[in-house]
Amino acid sequence: MKAENPMQSDEPLRQVLHKWKVDAKLPPRFQEQVWRRIERSEPQVQVPAWMLLFHRLTAALARPSLAVSYVTILLLAGLLAGYWQVRIARAHNDEALSSRYVQMVAPFQNPHR
């Protein structure tokens, strides 16, 4: 059995397609939307949040004014935290020593004695 030539059988179709003209207009920003859809369909690389934060911080610290502010703020934060901790430690120490003084001068006042 002899096979039919596909080129000969497609000839009418080719002629029709050749005459066919598309008059419909493309929607606005069609090309951009196509690229977005392609981007979305590609698997995205997951960057850890801390890495993202690190990159943003280092990018910001490239500006001298921000770098100076950053160091100053951290210096003040350290000083304040230390001062606050000293106040707490002193209050605890004073409380303990005053209780020990009372215990020393009035040992029979202790109900657990």
């Binding site: 690190f54 911080l57 280092t58 990018a59 910001a60 610290l61 490239a62 770098a67 950053y70 160091v71 951290l74 210096l75 934060a77 350290g78 000083l79 935290a81 230390g82 001062y83 901790q85 000293v86 106040r87 430690a89 002193r90 120490n93 004073d94 020593l97 005053s98 020990r100 003084y101 009372v102 020393m104 001068v105 009035a106 040992p107 029979f108 006042q109 109900p111």
Partner: protein, 153 residues
């Protein structure tokens, strides 16, 4: 890229150093207080702004008071032991128990009297304002303490 990372870590190091420096400077004074002198008395000196001479006199009075206090506490302990033996021997209030309770109360009253005398002596050694503050504070912590409510806790 390298310089901003250095600044990032330098900032953190500065914060930690500042914290440690302030903490060390603030607590070094109380750490130095401990060796050499009784910390409680050192606290008293600091709290009531005593001069060295006042502090020396108060320390001497304190030592004398503690010697008598230990002796009185020993007598109270002996009385409590005797009372415990009497209480274990009966389930009634006997005349002996009544007598032991009265003697124990007398001993405690004597202790409180001596303690108050010591407080007055210490307060007189201090500058007047500090003496008043000391008396108010120490009395609120000792004789004016609500011992009845403490018993229920």
């Amino acid at each position: 890229m390298r310089r901003p990372s250095v600044i990032l870590f330098a900032g953190l190091a500065v914060a930690v150093l500042a914290y440690c420096a302030i903490y060390y400077a603030g607590t070094a004074n109380s750490c130095r207080m401990d060796p050499g002198q009784t910390p409680e008395l050192a606290w008293l000196k600091q709290e009531f702004h005593l001069s060295d001479a006042e502090f020396t006199r108060i320390s001497q009075a304190h030592e004398q008071y503690l010697a008598g206090c230990a002796e009185r506490c020993h007598r109270i302990d002996l009385k409590n032991q005797a009372l415990a033996q009497l209480l274990a021997a009966t389930n009634n209030i006997t005349p002996e128990i009544e007598k032991a309770l009265a003697e124990s109360a007398l001993l405690r009253a004597e202790c409180q009297k001596k303690m108050l005398q010591h407080f007055y002596e210490v307060s007189r050694t201090m500058p007047p304002e500090q003496g008043k503050r000391y008396l108010a504070w120490v009395q609120s912590k000792t004789v004016l303490t609500d011992s009845h409510s403490q018993m229920h806790h």
